[in-house]
Amino acid sequence: MKALSQKRRHPLAAVALLLLGLLLTGGLYAAATSINEAQATNAADAYSASDVEEGERLFVANCATCHGINAEGSDAGPSLIGSGAASVDFQVGTGRMPMQMSGPQAQKKPAQFNDEQTMQLSAYVASLGSGPAVADEEYLDVEQGNIARGGELFRINCAMCHNAAAAGGALTEGKYAPALDGVESRHIYSAMVTGPQNMPEFNDSNIPPEDKRDIIAFLKNNESQGVPGGFSLGSLGPVSEGLLIWTLGLALLIGSMVWLTSRSS
């Protein structure tokens, strides 16, 4: 104790203290994030070695041109090390990858691989480094979700890009947030976890898995509840309503006007 109190006026004492503080916060942060990672990757062990091997073969044949032979990335595509199984499951499962053409963002299209192949590709990418895993079935069970809470979370976190009725919306430079109608629950979950294309990432400390389930429940309820007021006009809001009154509404009016003023000759 005496030695410490003697050395506290040493010129390097401040530096030592600073280092100590940095080490402590850094260590705590690392510990905290690794807890999240641990939660996220809890399903990585589910893949067998043969899945990984088969996935690698598929990867080399179909993906390596852009993502590099060891998924290390190239000028044409990002590195996939640490992307995790969820990312592959979303991108390949919704047909966005392999990409049809380069452009502002990957387009959704019919999936190019079947479920087993997609799973094998996921296994390979998951084996490259820890990343978010495909959602547990528990978090996809919309029966357990709270629709009203999901709606609130959706309006706060998602509606600014995806539209209040999940009909999609525009982003800058030709990018866009797609409509969410008919998207599979696990893909919605994966998208939230991995933040594909221009979407921000909503990790588990931001929106816990139970809340993600609520959001999915809300979206699935929107799909199944139908449109209370008749034809939805794409749920695009006042623009499509204005378009309808200026087209169908006006046409009906003009038709009846011409009829009323026509002479019976």
Binding site: R155, A165, S232, V239, L244, G249, L250, L253, M257
Partner: protein, 575 residues
């Protein structure tokens, strides 16, 4: 005093005859009873004989009136349940995705109307479609009046009443849009709040005055409600009365045609056929609106959620008639080449910011709205035409006005389209930024191009009219003459059509008039410049001589003795 004059008009026997008149039928008895007490005969005689010309484009004003009535009726239904209060409550109605969510009473009762009141959703949708149709019908009615020149003397003041009605319609629509207190309408209010606050010096005070403190507060919706259900509809009703009174005073305009002059109105009297048609047309409009309200969802307010100042949702737009305000805000850049347009005036209390990007949008808004009000005077100043006009112009016969009107319309369309720039981008796979850039280019270039193109089209149509009068329509029949020449037959137009094609004025450029001091002032110079853009290029209507000349060609004979009389008479003699 008046008894003397009455006595001179009717005899004592005539009075007693009226008193003793006994109708034979039951209907007659009721009618007589009412007539003796309110004097309905006089009113029916006066209005029933009012003559109206027949043309489908004259009916948009009627549509506006009817859709307003329907909107008032459906709106009255909504007031029975809607509670315009911003006090907080928890939703416990039947719409599951919002159960337990905290919201204002206004949103709660709007949801209740939609899901728990029988017929409530239909009435809400009817009300909203009615509002959209009301403003649309007014807009088209005004376009018709503008392009046919029906606003000219003596109808200038009625044009101003019409413009005020349009503004009141916008006000009614906007206040209604803001009532349900969901995220969409709250965003609309926030934009209005922003526009108010952009007004230098007093803006913040006006905003605080409107919202009863800082936005959003808890007073704005009850205030908008008073405006929406009481003040604005009352203004509209009074203005409609003034508008219709003036229509009756001025008598209706008519399109040019045989027998139609500046001193008569050719058409049918209101009673009985027009009254029946107009009454029936009310139900046609009601039917169209009911069809829309019953089958097409409008303002699905349950999707938007209770108002919360933080989220703004994709696809947030105002109703169509407010769209151009929103579009202007989108068109106006906040930065030009990295230089912010907003700046701060340094003051001892920390500086006042000037929100230029918002302020600049007031310029086109004011120009367009003010221009609309004063156009009748501007036009008569440019043309120097101070006469009364009851015969309408065919738009092509006034190329200057038509071109200018189209230019302004395109200008409005560009601002309007800008409000849906995001949906244009997503639905036509375009870049949002490119859409905005193109619309910005069109904002400046569009009106100019439109003016030039429209004027050329008008002149071309006038030349086509001349061609038809002088040579007739192409019959689509090819004849081969004995010497082998091929020729297409032309058929002459009927007298009726001929009248419409030749009976218009085509004034030339009027020279500058010096003022009392004998000088041509700057104002007069600019008037002449505009007069020249209006009238420099023109097509003369076919004259009598030209027509007779053309007829003689037709015959390949001598035009020996074409008798005097109307051109039509010449035509009928020949055929």
């Amino acid at each position: 005093m008046s008894s003397q004059s009455l006595e001179s008009k009717y005899t004592e026997e005539q009075y007693s005859e009226v008193d003793q008149y006994q109708p034979a039928t039951r209907t007659g008895k009721i009618a007589n009873y009412v007539d003796q007490r309110v004097g309905g005969t006089g009113m029916v005689r006066e209005f029933g004989r009012k003559v109206f010309p027949d043309h489908w484009t004259f009916m948009f004003g009627e549509v506006a009136l009817y859709s307003f009535v329907i909107t008032v009726i459906s709106g009255a239904f909504l007031t029975f349940w809607f509670d315009p209060s911003m006090s907080s409550t928890r939703y416990d109605g039947s719409y599951v995705p919002l159960q337990g969510v905290e919201m204002s009473m206004a949103y709660n009762t709007a949801l209740q109307l939609s899901f728990d009141v029988r017929g409530g959703l239909f009435m809400r949708q009817l009300h909203h479609w009615g509002a959209l149709m009301f403003v649309m019908a007014m807009a088209i009615h005004m376009l018709r009046v503008f392009f046919t020149g029906a606003f000219r003397k003596p109808r200038e003041l009625n044009w101003v009443v019409g413009c005020t009605l349009l503004l009141a319609g916008l006000g009614a629509g906007f206040t209604g849009y803001s009532l349900p207190d969901e995220v969409l309408s709250g965003n609309g209010l926030r934009i209005i709040d922003g526009m108010l606050k952009a007004i230098p010096v007093v803006g913040t005070y006006i905003s605080f005055f409107l919202f009863g403190g800082e936005f959003p507060g808890d007073e704005v919706i009850p205030r908008l409600y008073s405006l929406h259900i009481f003040i604005i509809p009352a203004v509209i009703l009074i203005l409609i009365a003034v508008h219709l009174f003036m229509v009756v005073t001025h008598k209706h305009t008519q399109y040019p045609g045989p027998g139609r002059t500046e001193r008569n109105v050719v058409g049918y009297p209101i009673g009985p056929v027009y009254a029946a048609k107009a009454g029936g047309f009310f139900f046609v409009v009601f039917g169209v609106l009911a069809l829309l309200g019953g089958t097409f969802q409008i303002n699905a307010l349950w999707n938007y959620g209770p108002y919360d100042p933080s989220p703004v949702q994709a696809g947030t737009q105002p109703d169509w008639y407010i769209g151009w305000f929103d579009g202007l805000l989108r068109l106006m850049p906040g930065y030009i080449g990295g230089v912010p347009l907003e700046f701060v005036i340094p003051t001892p209390w920390g500086g006042n910011s000037v929100a230029t990007p918002v302020l600049v949008t007031f310029i086109p808004i004011t120009a367009l709205l003010l221009g609309l009000f004063v156009w009748p005077w501007i036009e008569s100043w440019i043309t120097g035409d101070k006469r009364e006009h009851h015969i309408l112009d065919r738009p092509r016969n006034v190329p200057g006005r038509t071109a200018f009107g189209m230019a302004m319309m395109i200008w409005y369309f560009v601002m309007w389209a800008a409000a849906s720039s995001d949906l244009i981008a997503t639905h036509f796979s375009l870049s949002f930024n490119d859409v905005l850039i193109w619309l910005r280019v069109l904002f400046f270039a569009g009106p100019i191009l439109t003016f030039i193109i429209t004027k050329r089209i008008c002149l071309a149509l006038q030349r086509k009219d001349r061609e038809i009068v002088l040579h007739g329509n192409e019959a689509g029949v090819i004849e081969m003459l004995p010497h082998g020449e091929f020729r297409e037959k032309h058929t002459r137009v009927s007298d009726y059509e001929l009248y419409t094609l030749v009976s218009y004025e085509s004034p030339g450029v009027t020279a500058a008039r010096p003022n009392a001091k004998g000088k041509v002032g700057l104002l007069e110079k600019s008037r002449v410049r505009m007069n020249r853009t209006f009238f420099e290029d023109r097509v003369e209507p076919v004259s009598r001589e030209e027509y007779i000349e053309a007829l003689s060609h037709d015959d390949h004979g001598t035009p020996a003795e074409l008798p005097a009389g109307s051109v039509g008479a010449i035509e009928s003699r020949k055929s």
